[in-house]
Every structure is written in C-alpha cells, then in structure tokens.
Symmetry: C2
Subunit: 412 residues, 2 copies
Amino acid sequence: MPTKTAKKNAKSGSPAPISEAEYRARVATIQKAMARERLDALLITSEDNYRYITGFNSPTWHNLTRPRYCVVPLSGDPSVIVPANNTAIIEETSWVKNVKWWIAPCPADDGVTLTIDALKACAGKFKRVGAELGPQSRLTMPVGDFFRIKEGVAPIEVVDGDWMLREIRMVKSPAEVEHLRFVAQAVSRGFEALSRRISAGETEKQVAEKLQADFLRRGVEKIPYLVGVSGAGGYRNIHLSPQDRVLRRGDVLVFDTGCSYKGYYCDFDREYSFGKPSNKIARMYDIVWKATQAGIDAVRPGATCSDVWHAQAKVILDAKETSGLDFDLAKNGRMGHGLGMRMCEPPSIHPEDFTVLKAGMTITIEPGISYTHDGKSGPEPRVMVHEENVTVTEDGVAMLTRRAPPEMSVVR
Amino acid sequence: MPTKTAKKNAKSGSPAPISEAEYRARVATIQKAMARERLDALLITSEDNYRYITGFNSPTWHNLTRPRYCVVPLSGDPSVIVPANNTAIIEETSWVKNVKWWIAPCPADDGVTLTIDALKACAGKFKRVGAELGPQSRLTMPVGDFFRIKEGVAPIEVVDGDWMLREIRMVKSPAEVEHLRFVAQAVSRGFEALSRRISAGETEKQVAEKLQADFLRRGVEKIPYLVGVSGAGGYRNIHLSPQDRVLRRGDVLVFDTGCSYKGYYCDFDREYSFGKPSNKIARMYDIVWKATQAGIDAVRPGATCSDVWHAQAKVILDAKETSGLDFDLAKNGRMGHGLGMRMCEPPSIHPEDFTVLKAGMTITIEPGISYTHDGKSGPEPRVMVHEENVTVTEDGVAMLTRRAPPEMSVVR
C-alpha cells in the first residue's frame, strides 16, 4: 500500500536534514579556497551551487523568467539577491539572513544593479571575483546581464570560481553520503520489484509509468532524468525517453534514471529481458557485469579515476580477445563520473583523468560496450551499459546502490 | 485502470507529431528574421530552442558534462555539433542531416573548435552571429567556452539572437496549440479527480504521489515542475515542493504544476479545501476566480498584455474597495505569461508589457492576492493565486485548460 510504504520510509530510512552547522562549514571551506585562489567574492547563480551553500530549495528554477543571485564574501555570511516572490523560499528553506530583493520581472534591471553593488562591496583585497564559467558549469542567468555585471564591477576582474567549488564538492560529508544512499536504495528496490509487475504487450511508456509511481512511493522526491529504450536483441542507445513501442518476447528493455531526494541524486540503470535472454545477450551481460565489478573493486583512497577506468576496460578488452564475440568499448568517452547534487559531476572515470580518489567521494561505475544484433533485415547496432553508485571509504569502497543481479532480470 | 487510460489517450486524444515540413517552415521564418536582423548565423545551445528547430528530444540535457550546439545559417539547413554518444539521438529524433561529432567529455576542446569553424563558414555577409544572450535566455554551455568561441570567430561580432526567436515562438502553429491543449486537458482532469482520491491525515507528499501517478496515466510525459503547499486558512506561498506536513481539516492545499508532453507545457494550479472553506476563504476564492475570468475575457487579437493585466487587477482592486476585506495584489510582478516549449515564456501579463496579442499566442492568466489569516499565535500572511492556460483565436480566446470550478474543491 503506497501510504504505508511512504510512512515507513519517512520513519525509518530517511536521513536527517543538512544542519545549519554543516552549511556554515561548507562556507568556511569555500572561503579558505577563495583566499588561496585570491577571490574576494563568489557569484552563484546555478541551482545546485545555490542549494549547496544556502539550502534554497524550490521548483522555481524551472521558471527562467526570474534569475537569482548569491554572493559569498571572503569572510562573513553569504547574501542573496532574489525576486520579491522568492523571499518566502529563503525564509522557509535557507539559513541565510542577508536578503535583498527586487520586484521581477523587470527587464530593464533584473537584479543586475543590486548584484554589482554586492560584489563591489566585497572586492577590496584581491580585486577579483569568481563566477560559474569553467568546465561543466552553467551560468544560470541571461549572459547579456552577466556582461553588464562584468562591466559594472570593472576594474574588478571576473574569473572562473566554479572549478574550485567542484573540487570541494567532490568530497561528501557523512550526511551527504546518507542522502545519496537513501535515494540509491529506494530506486534499487523499485528496479528490483519491476520485473514482477510488468509483462510483454505493455508499452515502454506504460512500464515507465509504473516504475515512476513506485519510485515516488519509495520516497524519491523527483525524477528529473528517465531514459527508457527497448529493442529486439538489445537496445540501440541509452539516451531516449520511453515511447509507445510495445514490448515483445526477445526484447531487452533498459531504464536509466537520475532520481533525487532533497537535491541529492542517484544515477544508474537496469535491464530487463522479455523471456529468457539469448546466449549472446547473456554473455554480453556477464562481461559488462564483471567489468562493473572490477571497477567497484578498483575504488579505494589513493587510486586514480584512470585506474578505475583501466580496471573496467581490461575486463572488456580481455573478453573481446578470448571470447571470439564481436563487440567493443562503447563510445561514451568515459566509464563513470562523480555524483552528488548534480547527476553528473566531476571527476570523470576516464583514462586521462588522474584525480586521486579520497574517502567521501561518490562516483558512478559505468562500463559500456557496443555490439551487433543480427536483425531480420540485417545487422543492427546495440549497446549495453551497466551502472552502479559507490562511495569511497577510509579503506576501500561501499555500495550506495544495491548491486544489479549477476544475470539479467527476466520478465516472464 | 492505468493501462486502459493510457491506451485510450494514445488512441484518441494525442496530437500528431510535428512534421518535417513544420520544422522546415520554422527555420524559414527564423532565416527571414535573421536577414532583417543582419545575422549570418544563429548559435543554439538551450533545450527548448534546440528542440524547436531540430526536433532533438532526449533527457540527456540533465547531464551537464556534454554540451551540444546547433548552427542555423542564413540560408540552407541547420547543422548540429554533438558528442559522439548523442548522434543516435539525432538519428532517431531529428530531421537534421548535417551532423558533426566529437568524443566527449574532452575538457581541452568540448566542441569549441568545431563550433567556431561552423560559425565562420556561415559568416560571410553581415559578419554577425546571434547567440542566446538576451532577457530570460539561458546559454546552455560553459560560459568560459563561450568566451573562447567569441574570441575564435572575431572579428565576426556575436550579438543576442534569442529575443528574435522568442518573438517568433510566441505565435504557435495549430499543431503546437494541439500539443499544449493535450497536456493542459490531461492535467485538468487529473486535478478534477484528486479531491475524491485524498483525505485529511495524508501528507502533502503522499497526495502529490497520487497526483503525479495520475498525470502520467493520463498521458503526461514529464512533471518537471510541481509545487505543493498547504496551511490552515490558506497557503503561505506558491513556491515550495510538497513536504511531509500532514493535511488537516481547515487546511487549504495548492498544487501548481508545469507538466510536459513532447516538450510542450501546461502551467496552472488548483486548490483544495479540507472540509468546507471558511467564509473568508470562499470570498477570496470568488474574487480571484472572477479576476481570472476577467483576464480570460480580455484576451483577443489586438489587446495588449497590459490590457489583460488591468482587466484582472481591476476586479481585485474594486473588490478590495467594496468588500471591506483586507487583501492586496500579490507581489508576483505580473499576472500571467507566455506558454509553450518553456513553462514561462515572454510576453509577461504586466502593466508595462505592451505586446499586442495575436491569434496563435498561448498565455497563462494568473491573478494573485495576498491576505492575512488569523492564526492561533497571531496574524499569518497568506497568498491565493489562480491560473488558467488559453490561446488567442482569430476573434477572441479559447481555453486550453478546463476552467477551475467557481467554488473551491472540497476534500470531505
């Protein structure tokens, strides 16, 4: 019964909220890094950085009309500059007390002057402020207005401050790991229950409906990312939304999802075979499952992302050599990534990413292969990707997800 | 039964997909505007613009690691520059045939050189290209990389090209209106069914679970935006996610949602009274309902957004004067906005927005008031916001949503 499940989760499993002390500790760590990077202030505009620092929590980010700003000074508490109708969100979800507001939308000056003033008030020492400009960042405001802020604060220099935040945020606190574990466990159990709740004859979309409803019942708050793809003899890619395609015996269906709980994400996939999988599919699954295991086993403090990539690649490339089967590494460019208040964060599990793993980091292990299915009208390309979420511990690794079964789940 | 409902929707109500001819007509309209604005090319990076032009449809936008680019030339077909693992998305969802790709992530050059080359190849006539820089835009790539593109194409000038697109996109085609109607109708029916399916003693989150599952069953594809707030004697704001608060008699619960179908949004709210509403709440509801109706009735080709704002404000301000009740206009800054492949688009229903309404525009009518609830421990601020979605017709207005009931829905 839905109600019962939700209550049970709320009672037992759900982690304690992030405390004001933790938010303050985050700011202190950021300010230490700012001193090292010679930044007087940080300008924050993107949802995850904003929530990480201030706690600000609202669906309003989906409305692009009104931007919002947070300024972190070199010392002292952050301040926020928000549309008037967002002050209630600050009062209800944030520990930050320095609030300035304007009535938005106001195309002539949507917070620009207030933000220029706030940055200038901080920028005495280094004459440099950081903004979200670096790799994988998204400045969450109109860039035309950013140019006006940049000109407005001159001769104060505006440089990237995002990468510094990314590096700090790679290492999670125990409370953060508990949030990540909670959502990964809820989604794992939803995936495990699915094969018994669906059958051939349903469409991808209908199956996705059941899966999403179940995730929500298990305590997931949002399902911002849901891929669902199916096909005879495997799936063509792992990037499309579920469609009206009817599922049939011989199909493989994959779901890949980024669900969130209090802003913390899981990111992993699971596969379902409609009827017993072919020998070929079973072999492919076994190889990718073992590559995943090798990746998990390679995670420990001191190992690099490159090491974890090579551990996974070795299983696949060795199997390619000895199995006589025709497959190759998928063209994803990496085999996993950081995970936190973004679904995909640095580092990358990539042969040339030499980030050293530390206790508290949370990453995905995500090997993939491409192979060929002998379809009715000739050869058809297929991929197979597995993914698990783990955290680096003091002496090794701990699972956040519940491990995928060693053989593909079968829908009877 | 879920399966039956979904089948029924898929069979009867769901609109035909956007045709290649329509995508080509969109590009032709854009190119005409580009000539007028003296732009050799448009650089597109944001999800809704990208989908509007190319059809590209994938949840992958939620992964910020890999950006993607589309270049619209002054004449000829657009080209796309995408990560290697996104080429399958183009093949499956887009009509665009000019595809360049790179293996991402590649922090040293994530599509930057390819994009510079593509822009330079177009920019012969005006030496100007447009990018997403203007009001309400979001450049969906790292801004550090945008600076590199800007420098890389110099002396070609990069100016805002987004506002031109916004103006074109304000007017919807019949096929677009059908998509918007489909999702608005599905969500309307889900809202209408809710009061019979919930009861006091449940939490906001539990009620939200039921509502979301029902939306999905009725054919909604995604629920990117869901606000749920409740309180004794009304709700404090209309900006927070549903929480574990238990609903009790005397509460008012509001849900505001932006659901999407094939990328097209609805955006409206509905309220529920747990037990019969107080006289005060009933009066407030009546006033805001009538303000909404006045807004709807003011919509016709030739009217301005300002006219529609004033029609709504008049009902509220007149009632304030004659009713003797203590309330005021809410501080939202506007009373409605454009609606389409973004939940909130220009124009704004704002006293100073003089955009002239034209047949095919789709807008929300969204009056709001603030008032005071006499709580146990003193006066508490409350807001009440109503919202409907409409389209401008050749001679007036047509509803997209099913009109909210003239009295607040009661949960018994």
